[in-house]
């Protein structure tokens, strides 16, 4: 064949291919891939031919399958499904998840593809619903749950009786609107770190913190009495020990934006305490995450409120530390409690393999064996009670004792308005532009305006 003829043939083939692609069914027909020969219940205005087209193939394979033996290992029946996609936002657990996915594939013939995806991208793709390239399953920190559920991106996870095997707080973190919207995997909370060289025992009240820290600063041994990496998440135990809180619970047990506790006496007292620390020169006025950690790990600061993420840097720096429960507002009082962060597995409601994804989550992941192996792969406190108790290293036990009363961060959408307003209230208090009470009042006003506008 000469060149012209080759070109002609190629053009014809390309045109035919385009024809076939153009006529063989719509993009929108999401569940048409392995539909058995039966009524397609899609309600979009697809023309009759697309349903007939896709119904043709599976019916054939179903017929041929049943002529053979019913029980055949790995026989996937009418049309096979793609692997489930599972996105995680941090890579610590990818290996163990791949292992569990491989076992699931051996048992049921459908595997799981695990990918590490940045959290913001993960959220965006899930929020875009069917338009996005979202995964079937995702592991997220629970505070992202609210926005996703409100946009219809998350399907409920029904684990039946296994609910009682989990830590109640972990289940609480993934409850939304009274339904369990995910399978918890691990929990985390901050702890009260103290330098064992500078201080003999952890202080039990915040006044003691001030005294001990103040003495060290006055004596020149320390530059700062206590490290507050920020004025919100990490300082929460301070606020709660005085009786402060952000959102209260409604009648159905979930957090509600109708009960904002940010102007109550406890919050004001705590804010006044922070201001007094700054005024007396016991903490730097400029609240900086990095600076507070640097001061602790160089031994120039006896205390810091931070979480497991700081362990590596403290160990590398060699600073002798221990983790203790948080101090209370007064002697004999209740210690402050931190926010609890729960990471768990959620199911994408827009997935076209929804039931399969749910099955993977509830049958494979939500079992003691899998939870134990996940814990062994990456030692984060497990959400499964019996595995949680397996944690035997001092640091984890320290965090666990500090977080025994930890409350999950509210995941309602209104929580997103809180952070900026809260930080600003803290900053304005420290610089002295507003009194603690006024600053918190303004913060609540801002939060309520934003709730009203949204």
């Amino acid at each position: 064949m000469n060149r012209t003829q080759t070109r002609r043939a190629g053009t014809v083939i390309a045109a035919l291919a385009l024809f076939v692609a153009a006529c063989s069914g719509d993009d929108d027909d999401t569940s048409a891939d392995s539909a058995p020969a039966s009524a397609d219940t899609e309600t979009t205005a697809t023309t009759g031919d697309s349903a007939a087209d896709t119904a043709g193939d599976p019916a054939d394979t179903a017929a041929t399958d049943t002529t053979g033996d019913t029980v055949a290992e790995g026989d996937t029946g009418a049309g096979s499904s793609d692997n489930l996609t599972l996105w995680v936002y941090d890579d610590g657990r990818i290996e163990i998840l791949n292992e569990l996915g491989a076992e699931f594939e051996e048992e049921f013939g459908v595997g799981v593809t695990v990918e590490a995806v940045d959290l913001a991208e993960l959220r965006n793709q899930m929020l875009l619903g069917v338009e996005g390239n979202g995964p079937d399953l995702a592991i997220i920190p629970h505070d992202n749950l609210g926005a996703l559920v409100e946009n219809g991106a998350v399907a409920p996870a029904d684990i039946g009786d296994k609910v009682s095997e989990y830590l109640p707080n972990a289940i609480d973190g993934f409850m939304y609107g009274g339904e369990l919207m995910g399978v918890p995997l691990a929990v985390e909370n901050i702890g009260f770190f103290y330098n064992t060289d500078l201080v003999d025992a952890a202080p039990t009240t915040w006044a003691e913190v001030k005294d001990v820290g103040g003495a060290l600063v006055a004596g020149g041994t320390a530059e700062s009495a206590i490290g507050l990496p920020d004025l919100t998440y990490n300082t929460y135990p301070l606020y709660t020990s005085f009786g402060g809180y952000i959102f209260g619970r409604g009648t159905d047990g979930s957090f509600t934006a109708d009960d904002i506790g940010m102007t109550n006496d406890g919050m004001v007292e705590a804010m006044t305490y922070i201001k007094s620390l700054a005024d007396e020169g016991l903490i730097p006025e400029n609240i900086d995450w990095e600076a507070s950690h640097v001061l602790f790990e160089t031994g120039r600061q006896p205390f810091i409120l931070t979480g497991p993420w700081a362990l590596n840097r403290f160990r590398d720096a060699g600073v002798p530390y221990a983790i203790a429960p948080f101090p209370a507002a007064e002697a004999g009082g209740e210690p402050g409690y931190p926010f609890l962060g729960v990471q768990g597995l959620i199911i994408n409601a827009n997935s076209d393999q929804l039931l399969l994804a749910q099955a993977f989550a509830t049958e494979k992941i939500a079992t003691e064996d899998s939870m134990r192996r996940i814990f062994e792969a990456e030692a984060r406190p497990s959400a499964w009670q019996s595995v949680f108790e397996l944690a035997d290293d001092t640091d984890t036990q320290g965090f666990n004792s500090a977080g025994v009363d930890a409350q999950p961060m509210p995941s309602i959408p209104a929580m997103g308005f809180v952070w900026d307003a809260w930080v600003n209230a803290g900053t304005l208090t420290i610089t002295g532009e507003l009194s603690p009470a006024d600053a918190l009042e303004q913060a609540v006003e801002q939060i309520q305006t934003q709730i009203a506008e949204s």
């Binding site: 024809f19 179903a62 009418a78 600003n424 610089t431 507003l434």
Partner: protein
């Protein structure tokens, strides 16, 4: 399609015809798919592009455009269309809870099922036969066998409590056969067509029913469980008690977004301060960077080792802005930073670079000078050579001193050459979101505002906070509206500046 008075070889004709038809069919299919999803704007742009391409490539008269055609198409699709789309979004309520088109929202709602009162869920096992599928409801009372084809019979469990392995033509399926197809099984109705049983999950099946149905006459979605209609209103399905269904859809809300931020008193006070600071920031950044760049090029250009000096001085330019700003943040920390400690050593205490509004602003401009002066150094370095040497010699002869030479010869001619770049740099710095956001997120905060705003916030970061941090996170409609307004502002400034430049050049 081809003019008649042309003798075209048959092969060419056939090939062209095939490609054209294939292209047209492909485009038609794409437009149809877009329209079905309710994406009208994109569909119209794609149609316009298709017609344009067909005209250009098939009509002799427009053949001159052929070389430009692809470029124009890309510019239209990736340049013009996003701008038009952005303007369109400003008139809609796209955002949290309103991300789908109406058709997609209805589709989602109509696929929802619910369990009517009094019904319960059952454990099930799957069966298949040549005719289709069936399930046995194991813990129903009595255990039932329901099939796709409408059969509904009682079965007896064997002594272990398991259903029989075969029932009529149906054979039981093992879990590893059921799971891979479970989602397609979930679409099937088993048993009596009037009260079908559907699979809910791996463990449960129940007689669930469709929860919502769209009524086109009422333009409402009816909740079939209680008959309550939810009216389509501005992108939400609103029931009589005000409750809204999830998900909503995108709908045009007219000038609502513009109204929200233009007439909202709460926004106006901070807005004014933000605008003033924005102009000051852009102006001083550009002016001072230009002067520093000019000074550096005048000072160092005549020295030996010019190349090495130039290489060192350009260093801030290729380093990513993110890295530079973060390093400056650390250096400026009043307690632990290099510069902070240095100033404290000299003056006793360091200014509060992140808490005091004035010092934060000064710090921002200094960092911006650091980031921008290499650009002006390079530009003025070249521009200086353009000025003829004779003018300087003539001025010396006339007795002009260095300052006078600079003021009457160098500066005027330099500005004429560099003015377009200064204008462009002004526009860039007017919207310099990166620097402001990374440095201190616009903080320190303002003390009397109804929404969180910072003292160093510029318009664009203010908009970001309005549209994406407050207001339900991701209020694309509001963000788009404000960005349109911002475009008008920056566009007008730029237009006036260019006009002023023309007047300058004419002189």
């Amino acid at each position: 399609m081809l003019t008649k008075d042309q003798r075209v070889p048959t092969s060419l004709y056939v090939r062209t015809a095939l490609i054209t038809v294939a292209f047209a069919v492909g485009a038609l299919w794409l437009v149809r798919a877009l329209l079905l999803d309710g994406l009208v704007m994109l569909a119209s742009v794609v149609s316009a592009v298709t017609i344009f391409l067909l005209l250009v490539y098939l009509r002799r008269r427009y053949s001159a455009m052929r070389w430009m055609a692809i470029g124009v198409v890309f510019a239209a699709l990736f340049g013009v269309y996003p701008i038009l789309f952005n303007i369109y979004i400003g008139f809609t309520n796209m955002g949290n809870g309103h991300l789908f088109s109406k058709e997609q929202s209805i589709e989602r709602l109509e696929s929802e099922q619910y369990l009517p009162e009094g019904s319960s869920t059952f454990e099930w096992k799957g069966y298949q036969s040549a005719d289709g599928y069936a399930i046995v409801l194991i813990d129903a009372d009595p255990p039932r066998f329901v099939s796709e084809s409408g059969a509904d019979e009682t079965v007896e469990l064997d002594p272990n409590g398991e259903p029989p392995a075969t029932i009529d033509d149906y054979r039981v399926m093992a879990p590893n056969q059921v799971l891979p197809i479970i989602d397609s099984l979930a679409d099937l109705d088993f048993g009596d067509p009037d009260a079908p049983v559907r699979i809910q999950s791996f463990r449960a099946a129940a007689a669930s029913q469709q929860r919502y149905r769209y009524d086109a006459d009422l333009d409402a979605v009816i909740d079939l469980s209680n008959g309550v209609p939810h009216q389509a209103k501005e992108g939400s399905w609103v029931g009589p008690d005000g409750g809204e269904l999830v998900p909503g859809f995108i709908s045009v809300v007219g000038a609502d977004n513009f109204d929200r931020f233009l007439s909202n008193d709460n926004l106006r006070t901070p807005l004014l301060r933000v605008v003033v600071w924005n102009f000051a920031f852009a102006f001083f950044s550009v002016a001072l960077s230009f002067l520093v760049g000019l000074g550096v090029s005048m000072l160092f250009d005549d020295l030996p080792g010019r190349r090495i000096i130039r290489a060192l001085l350009i260093v801030p330019y290729p380093i990513p802005v993110l890295v530079s700003v973060l390093i400056w943040r650390s250096m400026l920390n009043p307690d632990l930073g290099t510069i902070g400690e240095f100033l404290a050593a000299i003056f006793g205490s360091s200014p509060q670079f992140f808490l005091d509004p004035m010092w934060t602003r000064i710090a921002l401009i200094v960092v911006n000078i650091y980031l921008s002066y290499p650009y002006f150094y390079v530009v003025t370095s070249g521009a200086l050579r353009v000025i003829p040497e004779e003018q300087y010699d003539a001025a010396e002869v006339d007795g002009a001193g260095p300052w006078q030479r600079f003021r009457y010869i160098t500066f005027p001619q330099l500005t004429v050459i560099v003015m377009p770049l200064l204008i462009a740099s002004f526009s860039f710095n007017f919207n310099n979101f990166n620097l402001v956001y990374i440095f201190n997120n616009g903080n320190p905060p303002m003390a009397d505002t109804i929404i969180p705003v910072g003292q160093t916030d510029i318009l664009i970061s203010f908009i970001y906070k309005l549209a994406f941090v407050t207001s339900g996170a991701s209020d694309y409609g509001l963000g788009a509206a404000i960005s349109v307004a911002l475009f008008v502002v920056v566009g007008s400034i730029t237009w006036f500046q260019i006009r002023a430049t023309r007047a300058l050049e004419a002189r």
